[in-house]
Subunit: 229 residues, 2 copies
Amino acid sequence: MRLGVSPDTFPPRGHEAKRLSIVDAAAGVFCREGFAGANIDLIAAEAGVSRQTVYNHHGDKEKLFIAVVRDLTERCNAGIFATIATFPDQPGNIEADLIGFAVRLNQNCICNRDGKFLRKLIQTEGERYPELFAEWREQGPGRTWPALAARFARLAYGGYLVIEDPDVAARQFLGLVNAELQTTFMLGGTPSESEVVQSATNGVRTFLRAFGKRPAPAGVKKQATLANA
Amino acid sequence: MRLGVSPDTFPPRGHEAKRLSIVDAAAGVFCREGFAGANIDLIAAEAGVSRQTVYNHHGDKEKLFIAVVRDLTERCNAGIFATIATFPDQPGNIEADLIGFAVRLNQNCICNRDGKFLRKLIQTEGERYPELFAEWREQGPGRTWPALAARFARLAYGGYLVIEDPDVAARQFLGLVNAELQTTFMLGGTPSESEVVQSATNGVRTFLRAFGKRPAPAGVKKQATLANA
DNA sequence: ACAAATTTAGACAGCCTTGTCCAAATCGTC
DNA sequence: GACGATTTGGACAAGGCTGTCTAAATTTGT
């Protein structure tokens, strides 16, 4: 829709550019101050436009807020699907490949600007706009989680993992690779890259202890290969 | 301090009662509306007192907010420690016992009113009061996570689990048993009891696949006992 | 029942915010 | 260079909120 083809009856190119910069600035201010605390003058200033222009483009504060959430949802979803497309379907080294995937997911979708903002807006104002966030839920987790589960199912079918319920496994994968980042997320912080890698590494190792095929067929002491840390 | 002994020079009994009802009402309003959107008149109305009484007790809006967060932190911490005290140190049936513990933790500390409110306030306003929430971090996760890790270490020492790093295991335990509740939490909802049990059951099963001692000493097909769901 | 402390209701000033209006300035295009 | 659309800045009304003040009503302890 946004990336559609040449709407030739388009107003000046700067028009759309301003719309974008307003939505961007608004996202930041809504996140920092909350809906009630967000100040249109401040949004206009941060967007580098006049207050009147904000009203020209978006009508009122509530419509602007809705535009912000829709924009973020759209961008985040695109990012998540692009990242899921890099899922290792035929891993050479399943541990390393899953860790790489988890790190990409975190860095490109969860810890980046859009991801942080969308998450915070959902947490903060989710109850105020039930239908808007129901829409997010359908378009977001409702579509991305099954997509991820399908990838894990394929990995199981290929003999790389032993999984009964791919949906549960997918959710637990996310829970595990983010287990060490919860406190940072809570406070709105951005984990350092090494924290992300650390959490992903620990998470994937545990995930594979639960769902991975045992490397040694039989006889060998089972935990010995892992427990020598 | 609050639970100290007999402050005999205490004003009327209703004084402290009113203070409590104000803080309680304020917690609800701050959560629903955010700090900026919270209305002192509304808080007073919900607390069943006059606006002036709110100011008499707490000075101004910011002090009231701080009192709310401190109160919630204190109560939640108490609840978490009380629940950790029920950790199964010598489990008869480790799966059932850990599931029970996870359910208690969720119901008594995370899904209850105080837990929901504290979580939302931290997410919403954490960046606005760095020192206040740093305090929460020290008193909360900083104390409860190690306490939980110590219990898991004891379980490993007792031969019930195989764990290298108890801190990591504790965080992953929490991540796993809450894996299926994330979306609900995001939107501020309260999961039903069956959802909590379901998530805890799946989480504990996976946790034990990763860290549990294999039930059959040797020879038997390893996943067979678990994979027949 | 009395005295002290607390609570209440209402009014009030000061401030901030939203959303509108308008004339002048600017921009993009032909 | 000229024209039309867009943007700008400033003024403006209407409304909401915080925090203070006061005198009257109520509660509490003795």
